[in-house]
């Protein structure tokens, strides 16, 4: 079964539109949703959770149509962390726990208290006095404490210091050890996604440019470093994007490995390289 299936989704706003978005996240995998600010990542998440109605197309989560009445039940199985933790500012972590215990049928108070301790979160301090990192940790603790099968994380690791971020990524990794557990995570920290994800989906101005297995992406692309003349000698189809290397008169380019001569030495491309070259990389 697929954890997420978006099929030909359209949604228009003044000045922005999601166009023909089809995306599948197989159950048991982690998919990273990448894109610039305003690319449509948060809108996609809202469409997925039926917080927005699409103009066209269908969204299914854990096999259930998001527009169907049964979808409310599915929300019990989905832990969501948005780009901000939107809890009312006067609530304390203990009060949030009590409210969530009345919200989710499978709320596990022991798990929640365990995360509060693990994240070193104060129990009685009002939410408004939390730092951004503490707020995100509270949101993550809530998302993980009602036995979800799917986590949807919108910039959930932003604002966390590198040590906590690493710990949180490890928690997400642990979560997907259960074979029916899946994660959709959007982040600007591409190195995190490279560490964590099985799939990378790249959204650009409301359109999905690609969604592919991370390992296949890394195998498909390489970084060419050399002179402009050497680059010009390659087939046009091989080069996806290039940049001048300042001060050396050379160039750096993202190329398709299978399109370049076998002996040509290429550097390993990171996910960040691939995304950046695709966004900036008008071929010259």
């Amino acid at each position: 079964m697929n954890a997420i299936e978006l099929s030909h989704i359209h949604k228009s706003f003044p000045g922005f539109a999601i166009r023909d978005l089809s995306l599948t996240v197989p159950s048991g995998t982690i998919c990273g949703l990448v894109g610039e600010n305003g690319a449509g990542k948060s809108t996609t998440i809202r469409l997925l959770m039926n917080a927005l109605r699409p103009d066209g197309g269908t969204a299914k989560v854990l096999g259930v149509d998001a527009a169907s009445p049964e979808f409310r039940e599915v929300k019990e199985d989905v832990g969501v962390v948005l780009d901000e933790a939107y809890y009312p500012e006067t609530l304390t972590a203990v009060q949030v726990g009590k409210v969530m215990a009345g919200t989710y049928k499978r709320w596990d108070q022991g798990t929640y208290e365990g995360y509060l301790r693990r994240f070193d979160l104060p129990e009685k301090k009002p939410f408004k006095d939390f730092s951004r990192g503490m707020k995100m940790k509270l949101a993550i603790a809530v998302a993980l404490s009602h036995q979800p099968k799917l986590l949807i994380l919108d910039e959930a690791t932003s604002g966390l210091d590198p040590i906590v971020r690493d710990e949180v990524l490890e928690i997400f990794n642990e979560f997907t050890r259960e074979e029916d557990h899946s994660i959709l995570i959007s982040s600007h920290i591409l190195s995190d996604l490279e560490k964590l994800c099985d799939y990378i989906a790249f959204l650009h101005k409301g359109e999905l440019l690609f969604c592919d297995e991370k390992d296949r992406l890394l195998e498909t692309y390489g970084i060419f470093v050399g002179t402009a003349e050497q680059l010009e000698s390659l087939r046009e189809e091989a080069v996806l994007g290039r940049e001048e290397v300042h001060g050396y008169g050379g160039v750096r380019a993202l190329v398709r490995r299978e399109e370049v001569p076998a002996g040509l030495e290429l550097e390993r491309a990171s996910v960040e390289d691939i995304i950046l070259f695709m966004v900036k990389g008008a071929k010259k």
Binding site: R46, M49, N50, A51, R72, E73, K75, E76, V78, V80, L82, E84, A85, Y86, Y87, P88, E89, T90, L91, Q95, K98, V99, M100, A101, G102, T103, Y104, I152
Partner: protein
């Protein structure tokens, strides 16, 4: 829905504490206007909760949770009803208790009327606020609430001379409250949007 009401009680608890003190003070001063003002003011507490929701963008998060639109809308009505019912009940108990010392007759009819007036004020104002949010819906809301409070206070002032007031008109007030609620809740559900 219970969880949403619980959340709102946590959020407005500071105001509630002040409110309980005000109930005590106003109930001792046994005046019809005070009672109407008290109960109608109580009907405003859901807006305090909504203002906090709006400021924290809680509704965006709530849209991701297993709450229905019905739960979200109805919870604000129930919160208003609970606050008004509590104020009416505490006020009635205090007035009856005070009667032993002051020998001033409790104005229970004024209390009942102000409770019904508060219900109608809530029914009239909540749909606008669900549509436009607390900030933008504030002016319409203030006009309606104070209009109802002043009118209610004036009517309650003559409540002791009930025989001179046509009975059908008084009997209509509970009916009006029920009818307004029956229209207001579906309207709020239709107008509700995540701000």
């Amino acid at each position: 829905m219970k969880a949403l009401i619980q959340k709102d009680f946590y959020v407005i608890w500071k105001q509630m504490r002040i409110f309980v003190v005000i109930i005590l003070l106003l109930s001792i001063m046994n005046s019809a206007f005070n009672i109407v003002f008290l109960v109608v003011w109580c009907s405003m507490l859901p807006y305090t909760a909504m203002a906090y929701d709006e400021r924290s963008h809680w509704n965006q998060l709530a849209a991701m949770m297993p709450y229905s639109k019905r739960d979200i809308v109805l919870s604000k009505y129930v919160l208003g009803w609970l606050c008004m019912a509590a104020a009416t009940l505490i006020s009635a108990v205090l007035q009856v208790a005070a009667f032993k010392f002051t020998h001033e007759a409790p104005t229970l009819s004024a209390l009942a009327m102000s409770f019904l007036g508060g219900l109608i004020a809530l029914d009239l104002t909540l749909p606008t606020v669900f549509r436009f949010g607390v900030e933008r819906g504030r002016w319409g809301f203030m006009i309606i609430v104070f209009g109802v409070a002043i009118l209610g206070g004036a009517v309650a002032g003559i409540a002791d001379e009930l025989p001179s007031v046509p009975m059908p008109a008084l009997a209509l007030l509970p009916l009006a409250a029920v009818a307004a609620t029956a229209v207001s809740i579906p309207l709020s559900m239709k107008l509700y949007r995540v701000n």
